[in-house]
């Protein structure tokens, strides 16, 4: 286990290094580079900019600048927001809970529904249900998330008046029920694509597990079909799903950004777009790096979780 952990951890560190290089390159691609925020200020003359460059060490070789930037990133000095001068990490921190709430709820929905569809599709292979689920998943993967959100708002907010069209809560009403009421539609919208993905993977994982010898053994022991499926098949099919949850993180974050925009949900995605609108590049860069780190960490945790549950990986 120790060898596995060390190996996996060093992989994540290398990945972090590569991600930081990509992030740094994007930062230098932004108009005006790291000084973009000052370039827009009319009271700054070209001389001032040159002086600033000198002071901040931006005329040094790119490689040195990169190490300087990466070192400050490691120390938690992510710069300051252009909009209000607040530290970037603090600004991001304020928006993380809303996104995590949205992502957590929609992942729970996706896993619950997707797993059920997948198992039913595998145990009733080539049935009408299986066929509909397969076609349905392909269509669901093709629907733009924001459009699904707009159609949802049109039907359930504007026509039926059942659900709020946006925001996280009604101002002046801090009750849990109010939060839940606002959470329903965005989390369902965000979960659609992932219901499709989970159901496809669960179907194939279940089919894989059904063909294994231990399932034949379980059947031969005279266990009821229901027990065989629930205990032996599903138990084993769920294992790779932990890895999948990690792999799906970037796509959930992408979906969250779009969903948050449509539903004016005060999360990281919304912050990202607002910051782009204000040319608040320190926050944009911060979010870019933060989301990538979140993804790397999520994958690391998923892999360790699988290793803890599955001795074949831990020891092999």
């Amino acid at each position: 286990m120790r060898g596995f952990l060390l190996n996996r951890l060093s992989q994540s560190l290398i990945l972090l290094l590569i991600v930081s290089v990509i992030g740094f390159l994007v930062l230098n691609l932004l108009p005006g580079g790291p000084l973009a925020q000052f370039g827009l200020d009319p009271s700054m003359t070209q001389d001032d900019l040159e002086r600033l460059k000198e002071q901040l060490g931006l005329n040094r070789p790119l490689l040195i600048q990169y190490f300087d930037w990466a070192w400050r990133l490691l120390q938690g000095d992510w710069g300051h927001s252009f909009r209000d001068g607040a530290p970037v990490l603090a600004v991001i921190g304020r928006h993380v809970p809303a996104t995590l709430l949205l992502m957590g709820t929609s992942t729970a929905i996706a896993i619950a529904i997707g797993t059920w569809i997948g198992i039913r599709g595998a145990t009733h292979r080539y049935s009408l249900f299986d066929y509909m689920a397969t076609v349905g998943a392909m269509v669901a993967l093709s629907i733009p998330t924001f459009w699904f959100g707009l159609v949802g708002i049109y039907i359930f907010s504007l026509q039926l008046g059942w659900l709020p069209a946006g925001n996280m809560y009604t101002i002046g009403d801090g009750s849990v029920l109010n939060y839940l009421h606002h959470l329903i539609m965005p989390s369902i919208v965000l979960s659609l694509v992932h219901v499709a993905i989970w159901s496809r993977y669960m179907r194939s994982a279940t089919l894989d597990a059904i063909g294994q010898d231990f399932v034949k053994t379980a059947r031969a022991k005279g266990l009821s079909e229901r027990r065989v499926i629930m205990k032996h098949v599903v138990g084993n099919a769920l294992l790779p799903m932990i890895t999948l949850a990690g792999v799906q993180l970037p796509s959930i974050l992408t979906g969250a950004l779009v969903t948050e925009t449509v539903f004016t949900w005060p999360g990281m995605g919304r912050l990202f777009l607002d910051s782009l609108g204000y040319s608040d590049y320190p926050v944009v860069m911060g979010l870019l790096m933060f989301s990538a780190i979140l993804v790397i960490l999520g994958n690391l945790i998923a892999d360790i979780a699988v290793a803890i549950v599955d001795p074949r990986i831990r020891l092999g």
Binding site: L150, V151, I153, Y201, T254
Partner: protein, 292 residues
């Protein structure tokens, strides 16, 4: 892949197993039909409709579908939605197609070199792929779109830059498994150059998975272009794209829902079709299904 090679004889290719399998895949045929109709509509539609996509008529603002000659209604500036939809389709489909070509080329190049060379070159390339995959694609896309002037060509490039990784992974795995095969060894013994073996000997045998991945990349690229254009950082007006037609649609959702529903439906139809075609090709070309 081998099926493709074996059946690529000079005559009667249309009776090959690959073609037969594809044509017995109903969803794939549906996809081909829908994409053909959509393409024809985008090519000829604007010439057949009575209104130009840029013609502003403030007396005819917010006309619902089927008002006079405005079959799909008009937008807040009184422009004909049908004409705009087809012109937008040209933009969106062309951007997606060229983004697919570019990302498939990048992905194939990276994948072939990483798979054939292996060693530290292969490791470095594949870790770069992982690095790109660690960013939520929309974050990277938006940051790049904000940094660079989003002309249609630039949108194509940044969509390609953020979607080549899947192809690279598929090609790398395929090439790595083909690398030890006899025909490659034979090529080496004949003294062929590494580039010749990689691109003339191995690559043709890996075409199946590449074709499938490329088809699915078109679907993916249509979605990505729609996302960033919807958010205002992709294709810029007055040039219409399916994504930017939806940009202002949310504020008129109550009074003019067709402005949101129609372009979104076009995107969904196009993306679904390419996903169906990709699924059919996967079956027809005998491509192992890792993605499920």
């Amino acid at each position: 892949m081998t099926a493709l090679a074996a059946n690529a004889g000079p005559s009667r290719w249309w009776r090959s197993r690959t073609v037969r399998r594809f044509t017995s895949h109903h969803l794939a045929l549906l996809g081909v039909t829908m994409i053909t109709l959509l393409t024809l509509a985008c090519v000829f539609g604007p010439h057949l409709l009575p209104y130009d996509s840029l013609y502003i008529d403030l007396r005819a603002r917010f006309a619902p579908p089927l008002t006079g000659d405005h079959y799909l209604g008009t937008d807040p500036l009184g422009r004909d939605v049908a004409a705009r939809l087809f012109m937008a389709g040209r933009t969106s489909l062309l951007v997606a197609f060229f983004a697919m070509l570019l990302s498939t080329m990048i992905g194939t190049l990276v994948g072939v070199i990483a798979g054939y060379r292996g060693g530290w070159i292969g490791a470095a390339l594949m870790r770069t792929v992982d690095g790109f995959l660690s960013f939520p694609s929309i974050f990277l896309l938006l940051a790049l779109a904000a940094a660079l002037k989003p002309s249609p060509a630039m949108v194509t490039v940044i969509v390609a830059v953020t979607s080549w990784m899947e192809v690279a992974r598929i090609v790398e795995a395929e090439v790595r498994s083909l690398r030890e095969r006899e025909f490659v060894l034979a090529g080496r013994m004949l003294g062929l150059s590494g580039a010749h073996i990689m691109f003339r000997e191995i690559l043709p045998n890996a075409m199946g998975p590449i074709i499938v991945a490329a088809t699915l990349t078109v679907a993916h690229a249509i979605l990505l272009e729609a996302y960033i254009s919807f958010l205002g950082y992709g294709i810029q007006p007055p040039l219409p794209s399916w994504g930017n037609m939806l940009e202002g649609a949310q504020q008129y959702l109550d009074s003019a829902p067709w402005l949101a529903i129609i372009p979104g439906a076009a995107i969904t139809i196009a993306v679904t079709s390419f996903n169906f075609i990709g699924d059919g090709l996967r079956d027809a070309l005998d491509v192992r299904d890792d993605r499920v």
